[in-house]
């Protein structure tokens, strides 16, 4: 498939340059709609002057009346279709891939993260474990958003989060729509594939911070399950965290010695839950330690 820029606006390519953990991206947009989408997704990622840096180039096109969205990495087409959610999800994943791949300084952990009181809480989990849902719910309870997808954990144990709109797959956003007024509902991305909700819509108290990790909670949603919290030893926590450790191969000893050191300073828990009712009290009780 040819990459077709708008014929009438070959000169109107708008570039947005962003940087995350040492990797810079230049997203070339063919229209105001494409620019709006990039700004919606990457609002909290630091911007750079476009001409100032060498950056990974990506192209985002929004074309036609339908409209169709098209995402390109050079000559490689990564997405073409009408789902704003799928295009958004693909763009975010691409940025994360290019940020993680060369990183030899931090542990890239597939995890949500929130901040509350004096606790920076990591929520590691694979896709489908419920970390975005739990992150969103915690925001409605006053916890502050750090990320719902990826953390770069420094060797000193500081969380360096990747902030983005919270991503819900396949109807997962439904329970949270009650927290949004009509104006906000009209300003989320939502289609049959999923939804992306600006985290500020669930808790407007936000600033980009890099707190020191104090607690790790491994969530597992199971419909109908009783809420069970089990404290994990540092060894068991390390074993579980390794399953979410994305760039271990980049690090000496797979980063295990350093992760072990960090986890020895934290409390870790396994959380199984089937509903939110009663969860707040259970978590509150364990956050007091």
């Amino acid at each position: 498939m040819l990459k077709v820029w708008s014929v009438s606006s070959m000169d109107n390519i708008y570039s947005i340059t962003k940087s995350f953990e040492g990797t810079s991206f230049r997203i070339n947009c063919n229209s105001g709609s494409a620019v709006e989408l990039v700004n919606f997704l990457l609002q909290d990622i630091p911007s750079l002057a476009s001409s100032a840096v060498r950056a990974k180039e990506l192209d985002l096109l929004v074309v036609g009346k339908a409209p169709y969205l098209s995402l390109w990495d050079g000559d490689k087409k990564l997405y073409h279709g009408r789902s704003w959610y799928k295009a958004s999800y693909t763009l975010i994943n691409l940025i994360l891939f290019y940020s993680i791949a060369p990183n030899k300084n931090h542990h890239a952990i597939h995890a949500g993260a929130v901040f509350h009181g004096r606790n920076a809480i990591l929520l590691p989990g694979s896709s489908g474990a419920g970390k975005s849902t739990l992150t969103a719910w915690l925001l409605t309870k006053g916890y502050r958003y750090l990320t719902d997808e990826l953390v770069m954990l420094s060797k000193e144990g500081k969380i360096r989060p990747f902030p983005r709109p919270i991503s819900f797959k396949n109807g997962g956003v439904e329970p949270f729509l009650t927290y949004l007024d009509k104006h906000k509902v009209e300003n989320i991305i939502r289609d049959d594939a999923g939804a992306m909700v600006p985290h500020r819509f669930l808790n407007s108290d936000y600033e980009y911070i890099t707190p020191e990790l104090t607690k790790v909670i491994y969530p597992q949603f199971q419909a109908g399950a009783k809420t069970v919290v089990e404290e994990l030893s540092p060894a068991r926590s390390c074993l579980r965290l390794l399953t979410c450790h994305v760039n271990g191969r980049n690090l000496d000893d797979l980063g295990i010695k350093n992760l072990s050191t960090i986890l020895r300073t934290c409390k870790s828990y396994s959380l199984t839950y089937g509903k939110f009712e009663g969860l707040e009290q259970v978590l509150y009780d364990h956050m007091q330690n």
Binding site: C238, G248, L254, K257, S260
Partner: protein
């Protein structure tokens, strides 16, 4: 598993020690294995060039009150270690 078989340690695995717990990990296989205190003891025994029967006898002397359970527990642990690639069986 036969009593006359000896256990061979996979040298790729490195050890990270916690309080009473062990994480073994292999950089080449990107594999990690959790050992509790008992499994750690068994793994240490695997370094001593003993047969399975000799391990049973050692553990029965060390834990006489659990003499009847030792063999089964040992075999289960060894099978788990073999399955995870931490050790392998040698013919005696």
């Amino acid at each position: 598993m036969q009593d006359s078989q000896k256990i061979k340690i996979n040298p790729d695995f490195q050890l990270e020690e916690f309080d009473g717990e062990i994480l073994l990990y292999s950089v080449s296989d990107t594999t990690a294995v959790y050992l509790n205190e008992t499994a750690h003891l068994i793994w240490l025994l695997c370094h001593e060039n003993l047969t399975v029967e000799e391990m049973v006898q050692f553990l029965q002397e060390k834990y006489p009150e659990q003499k009847d359970e030792v063999r089964e527990d040992l075999l289960i642990s060894l099978q788990a270690l073999v399955a995870q690639g931490v050790v392998s069986l040698q013919h005696g």
